[in-house]
Symmetry: C2
Subunit: 324 residues, 2 copies
């Protein structure tokens, strides 16, 4: 199967969006621009053995490759619209391509986005996706708007992917139902697009926590020139995480470290001015992932995590360190 028949068979689907004037099959795609909108552009690559285990299913690879890019658009409060796919494959394996492309197309339908072009090449397995989205002019939520007194929120729960990796690496036997739930978070992260669109009207700064809360909230704090104080007891943990931590006989400190520094959570961390908090909370659609307030923006630099016992831990962007 050559490149052209491969593209035709697996990737040349009809674009869903009316703004796609020309999709796959020419030198470039042609897109109509929308008045009153700015364009958002992001690129993320997944490499086999680096970003996903080499034995991952093609469905989970396709799902994750698209989700990590959707998550970047979500973190700006944008609406995803179009993507290109650069797929490097050791061989044209029909079974692999069927699973991979089915996952992409299912997710594309779910978010109403269109595959508009790309490139397939022979080489070590890697997937690089460029996602384009739109946002009303001037309304994108960057990392740099956090101000002292603002509240820090995260969507859904944290640490599920980190716990999955920890249990896999330490060969901890978990209840299969729990492990399935954690693996789903790791392999099939859900991009919080609808949540980002709702948060856009309220947030002063936003980021997705794909590199872990400490690192990513750290970017917001550094860009905004502020500090944060977080409450350990408020960090939203799933039942699966609590169960896995107990099974692994993990102490609270290790658990907190994993949850705050572990990557692959594709939740949003949004900073919201006090005046907006009641409005945000009262209008939050119940169908979306829940929103939890985990702390407050302070003057200074860095992050402090207050534990239930009253001790406080300094969270560094690249790790986790007790005050000496």
């Amino acid at each position: 199967m050559d490149e052209f028949s491969l593209i035709k068979r697996y990737f040349d689907v009809q674009p869903s969006s009316a703004n796609v004037v020309l999709g796959i099959g020419d030198d470039t795609a042609i897109l109509d621009q929308q008045t009153g909108q700015q364009l958002l552009v992001t690129t993320d690559t997944l490499v086999a053995g680096v970003h996903f285990p080499v034995d991952s299913s093609p469905e989970s690879i396709g799902y994750k490759a698209l989700s990590v890019n959707l998550s970047d658009i979500a973190a700006m409060g944008g609406r995803p619209a179009w993507y290109t796919l650069a797929l490097t494959l050791p061989e044209a394996d029909d079974c692999w391509l069927r699973g991979f492309s089915a996952a992409l197309h299912a997710l594309a339908r779910r978010y109403d986005i269109s595959l508009i072009g790309g490139d397939t090449t022979r080489g070590p397995l890697a997937i690089s996706i460029t996602m384009l989205g739109t946002v009303p002019t001037g309304e994108a939520v960057t990392r740099s708007g956090a101000e002292v007194g603002d509240s820090v929120f995260v969507t859904d729960t944290m640490g599920d992917a980190a716990l999955a990796l920890y249990c896999m690496q330490n060969e901890i036997d978990l209840d299969p139902a729990v492990m399935t739930q954690l693996r789903t978070s790791l392999d099939r992260p859900v991009a919080r697009v609808e949540e980002g669109l709702c948060l856009r009207d309220y947030a002063s700064a936003m980021i997705d926590i794909s590199d872990g809360l400490a690192a990513d909230l750290g970017h917001v704090l550094a860009s905004s020139g502020v500090a944060a104080e977080l409450e350990a007891s408020r960090l939203p943990l799933s039942q699966a995480v609590r169960h896995a931590a107990a099974e692994a006989q993990m102490n609270d400190d290790t658990l907190l470290q994993l949850v705050t520094t572990g990557g692959d959570d594709y939740e949003l961390c949004a900073v919201v001015p006090q005046t907006g908090v009641p409005g945000l909370q009262s209008t939050w659609p119940p169908a979306l992932a829940p929103l939890t307030q985990i702390g407050t923006i302070r003057q200074g630099t860095g992050m402090i995590l207050r534990s239930a016992s009253g001790s406080h831990i300094e969270l560094a962007a690249n790790g986790y360190r007790h005050f000496t």
Copy 2:
């Protein structure tokens, strides 16, 4: 050196374009759209050992990675504007990164385009670039507009890259000046952006011939539902190609085959209606790559190459075959 310092040191240059609201350093870039313009999007990947020899200099890799994408925008008659870079590297080698990024930035200045984002990951060397450009609404030149009687043009000369590869693979000793010239075509192809902008006003169809004239003109013919008749004697060959062919004791047939089916020529092939030809030729800026008329669009399917001796050769999209 971690990902963030690597990006800061080598890639975080000030965007040149006023339309870049936010460049590198947030979840996505933010771009202002231009009224009356459509957006062009293309993605191309280069993999070490597949698209360039593993011993290629970092400068030539950077140069080529950007040029192949510029060439796709050129082939639509578009103006390149912004690009993202997905760079997968086995290790953070300062010397390599310095050469690679210098080539990118030099070429970006030359074409007034801005690096607006991307991703750096660890893995086997590969470069995937997504290029965005603009074109006045409705004026992009696709592959599907060629009509019977139109003339077929190519820019500059053909086959230089193919002859370079041939001589390298067959270990033919060439005059170093000739080899340097051929290698430059292979390693540092020049995207015909200005040429594409001039051709836009005249061409009914256009493509770049990066996969070879036979394959790429073949796409135009298939998309347009027409055939082409080309004159072998009109194919523009450089002195270096003629010299290398003589040195390699290549017969005319082998030379024609290489020139028409060899890839890595980043010239434009444009199809122009008869009524436009005088205007195109009389207004062609002398500073641009010369334009040569090589044939005519005919009814039917496929491509015929007429040789000087009067024989004709059927050019297949995937090869080269004499009539039986």
